[in-house]
């Protein structure tokens, strides 16, 4: 008589899935922590240019964003398809609003952070420089001199 495996059923044992929720929860927590929800809904489309000398920007609290691009489809009827500037949730009609936006952003900052304020320009590749220079002139007037042309790295 052999000792091993006689008359035993050879079924596949059921996989124990009781730890599956824990596993998923772990991943969930990871994503909950790293997630940063965009505060503004984008009303313009943009594809930033590519460059090689790209630096990473640190300290999100110091950065104010200016978006420039063509309006997304739902706004095309009212705004046309030419390049538009977006600040927070609004389109810009008058360039003076850029200055006001900078002042607002600067007021919201802590006193020690104010000199380190940065403006990130997220500008579409196809934009004409006219609109960009206009923004730059406004930024100069508002003394927001630290500028960052947002871009992707190219290898």
């Amino acid at each position: 008589m052999s000792k091993f495996g006689k008359g035993e059923k050879r079924g596949m044992p059921a996989l124990n899935t009781s730890s599956l929720p824990d596993l998923i929860f772990t991943i969930l927590f990871f994503f909950m922590i790293v997630t940063t929800m965009r505060e503004v809904t984008l009303k313009v489309e943009f594809k930033v240019p590519k460059g090689t000398e790209i630096e990473k920007m640190t300290k999100k609290s110091l950065i104010s964003y200016i978006y420039v691009g063509k309006p997304t489809r739902e706004f095309r009827a009212q705004r046309g398809s030419s390049s538009q500037i977006q600040l927070n949730d609004k389109f810009v009609d008058n360039l003076i609003q850029v200055q006001e936006y900078i002042y607002q952003e600067r007021d919201a900052m802590k006193e020690i952070d104010k000199p380190f304020m940065k403006v990130s320009l997220k500008v579409d590749k196809e934009t004409r420089m006219g609109i960009v220079t206009d923004i730059k002139q406004e930024l100069r007037k508002a003394w927001a001199l630290n500028l960052n042309y947002s871009a992707d790295s190219r290898n």
Partner: protein, 194 residues
């Protein structure tokens, strides 16, 4: 009397996994791990009258004119060029290795680690664009100019400290930055094409 054992029924937790899956997918889709990257530049302060006077004092040999017109055509100094040529031209201009008379003049300056060296302290790269220039082209040119500086600094760091610029200490980096100060002037916009 009917004596029953009252056990707490076990909670069916088989759907916990599904619930957490739904939450996970929600966070997966809303997450934007965009680390902000870009080309950092510094704008000149708002124009004042005395700045205008200072500008006229710059000698012609100290200025490298880079112009982009509305057709995205590029001009360095006096002749047409391609984006790929900028880096070499800019490097030669900034460094002026042979001390040529048509490139920026060198001034003696004392820098830590280096002692007294002759550097092109007064050079300016003037970048001028048209209102019709595309942002893509403008950015490519800016990128090349910054690349020229970065390459020069990196070469200097390797020669002097035998390691790349990014691995140098704060003081060493400062010395290198003083050796090759970044001077890109973004001139007032012009509107050529009407």
């Amino acid at each position: 009397m009917g004596k029953k054992k009252r056990e707490v029924p076990e909670l069916n937790s088989s759907s916990t996994a599904d619930i957490s899956f739904i939450l996970l997918i929600f966070f997966l889709t809303t997450t934007s791990m965009d680390t902000d990257k870009g080309l950092a530049r510094r704008l000149p302060p708002p124009p004042e009258d005395k700045d205008l006077d200072a500008e006229t004092e710059i000698k012609e040999r100290n200025v490298l004119q880079v112009r982009i017109n509305a057709m995205d055509e590029l001009m360095i100094g006096g002749d047409y060029a391609e984006v790929s040529e900028i880096r070499a031209r800019a490097k030669e201009f900034i460094d002026n290795p042979e001390n040529l008379a048509n490139l920026p003049d060198k001034v003696a300056k004392e820098i830590d680690f280096f002692g007294t060296v002759y550097i092109t302290d007064k050079h300016v790269i003037s970048l001028q664009s048209d209102r019709g220039t595309s942002y893509d082209k403008y950015f490519a040119v800016q990128n090349e100019l910054v690349a020229a500086y970065n390459e020069l600094r990196d070469e200097l760091a390797k020669r002097k400290f035998h390691k790349p610029y990014t691995q140098c200490s704060e003081d060493e980096q400062l010395a290198i930055r003083t050796y090759y100060p970044q001077k890109i002037s973004e001139a007032e916009p012009k509107n050529y094409a009407k």
